[in-house]
């Protein structure tokens, strides 16, 4: 799907703070993508090891194909690492960082958000390193619930935690909770693909969307 195929109201998504939040329609039901299965089936000869950059590129390409088949935009995809036995830095750079970068860019193929599920101890270090290197953040289930990993200001983290705790926040609640900086901070999180904003200014946590699409 090209940008021209997307709903017209999604074209502003990801642009600078101060613009209206991008999404007007609700997101599509979440798609769960078994990253280990992709690695095993398509790339690494039946081994769920996410190692080497070419493997990472191939897995990312397979993920993008699956996302492109989602009928509605925007969408939230759950990238499930449960079966990934090992994740090296090169692969994490391709599968996590470059995927996020691609869907944050203005020329992104569609409106896509990501939750990284079952990011265990064996994956977390690589994921955090590549996020930090690119200045990115990602919503990751580390086993005890979703957390914001990667680069974020204290303001962003506080806003994200509040949103994650509540699930949804309306425009008026945002202003009451965070003052006049609340709305731009939440919009910034949406620009960074770690929160979702509706046209009326209300915000939803990605995990809440996954639970209640």
């Amino acid at each position: 799907m090209s940008r021209a195929d997307e709903p017209s109201d999604s074209n502003e998504a990801g642009e600078s703070n101060g613009r209206a939040c991008a999404m007007s329609k609700g997101p599509a039901p979440p798609l769960t993508i078994d990253v280990g299965a992709i690695a095993s089936d398509a790339v690494a000869q039946a081994r769920p090891d996410l190692v080497t950059r070419p493997t990472g590129r191939a897995v990312r390409a397979a993920i993008e194909v699956r996302i492109s088949r989602i009928a509605r935009s925007p969408s939230v995809s759950l990238l499930d690492f449960t079966r990934v036995r090992i994740l090296d830095f090169s692969c994490a750079d391709e599968v996590v960082a470059k995927l996020l970068v691609r869907y944050m860019r203005r020329d992104r193929p569609r409106e896509a958000f990501f939750l990284f599920r079952a990011v265990g101890d064996i994956h977390r270090h690589a994921v955090e390193e590549v996020l930090g290197r690119h200045g990115l953040a990602a919503v990751c289930d580390l086993g005890g619930g979703y957390e914001l990993l990667g680069s974020a200001t204290e303001e962003e983290r506080t806003a994200w935690r509040t949103l994650e705790h509540r699930g949804r926040i309306s425009l008026s609640e945002l202003a009451a909770e965070f003052g006049e900086q609340g709305v731009p901070v939440i919009r910034g999180l949406a620009d960074r693909r770690v929160a979702w904003c509706g046209r009326r200014g209300d915000a939803r946590a990605l995990s809440e969307i996954a639970r209640n699409p």
Partner: protein, 293 residues
């Protein structure tokens, strides 16, 4: 015929003895006389293979006289040396079938040519490294994944930067006299373009007259520079440095005429050596000591 005397002990500490005898520019038939060899680690084994390949560039395959001590020859066999050496040395190496039985070897000499080889290395190590890392080196259970990641990144360095095939090997030893501890030794070697040539087009200009093998190693090792413009590149070596540092290990890279290293307090090796005998490609050495306390 030029005879290269392989020292009785050939490990990471004295590989320079062999480098000095194997200048890349020497021509003519070569015999590697390893009859006196009584101790060798993965660094020594990969150097013998690399030196044999370099000697073969003269047009004649070199010969090798294998160690007189049977236990050394058997150890070389268990490490896959004879298998790897077939086709590099003219004779004196009996190509033996690789055993698929349970091995005490952490990682036999394994060619690194494609990304599939890296997957093979990671797969093999994950099934073997757990017991050695936990029981011998007393690392936590999660160490096997981090160890595998180190191997993956270091092998990818060969494929992506050397633009030539290489080898990797690893083994655990009891350094009772030397350190009073067990260690795991990982060696990776290639005969590719080396760090200087790999980085030259992108970075030589900014270093001006300082550019050379040592500067190129500093650029990659200390600054994380890479020939790729991509932000995500160059982190492999940085991450290996971090992890090896956490385990109080040694990481050294020799390329061209220089060697750079992160050394813990138990090692007396200098952080940078220059003016070494020129040798093609890059040679990486990682030593991980047993955890104490």
């Amino acid at each position: 015929m030029r005879v290269i005397e392989v020292p009785a002990s050939l490990d990471y500490r004295n590989v320079e003895v062999l480098y000095r005898q194997c200048g890349a520019d020497d021509a003519g038939p070569v015999l590697f006389d390893a009859r006196r060899l009584s101790w060798i680690d993965p660094n020594g084994m990969l150097l013998l293979l690399a030196a044999g390949k370099v000697a073969a560039r003269s047009g004649t395959l070199p010969r090798i006289s294998l160690p007189a001590q049977q236990e050394v020859t058997e150890y070389l066999d268990r490490m896959g040396f004879h298998h790897a050496a077939a086709g590099i040395f003219k004779s004196g190496v009996r190509r033996r079938r690789r055993s698929h039985s349970v091995s005490d070897v952490l990682l036999e000499i394994t060619p690194v040519t494609t990304n599939s080889d890296v997957h093979d290395v990671v797969d093999r190590v994950q099934s073997r490294a757990g017991a050695i890392l936990s029981n011998t080196l007393h690392y936590p259970p999660s160490a096997v994944v981090r160890f595998s990641v180190i191997l993956s990144e270091v092998c990818q360095n060969v494929i992506e930067h050397a633009e030539a095939p290489g080898w990797v090997a690893a083994q655990a030893y009891n350094w009772r006299k030397r350190l009073g501890r067990h260690v795991a030794v990982i060696a990776v070697s290639d005969l590719g373009c080396g760090f200087r040539a790999s980085l030259e087009a992108e970075h030589a200009a900014r270093f001006g007259d300082r550019w050379g093998d040592a500067t190129a190693l500093e650029a990659a090792f200390l600054l994380g520079l890479t020939r790729f413009a991509d932000t995500g590149r160059g982190q492999g070596i940085q991450q290996i440095r971090k992890q090896v540092g956490r385990w109080h290990g040694i990481l050294s890279i020799r390329s061209g005429t220089a060697r750079i290293a992160d050394t813990p307090d138990w090692s007396s090796r200098p952080p940078l050596e220059e003016g070494l005998t020129r040798f093609p490609g890059s040679q990486i050495n990682i030593i991980l000591p047993e955890r104490i306390g």
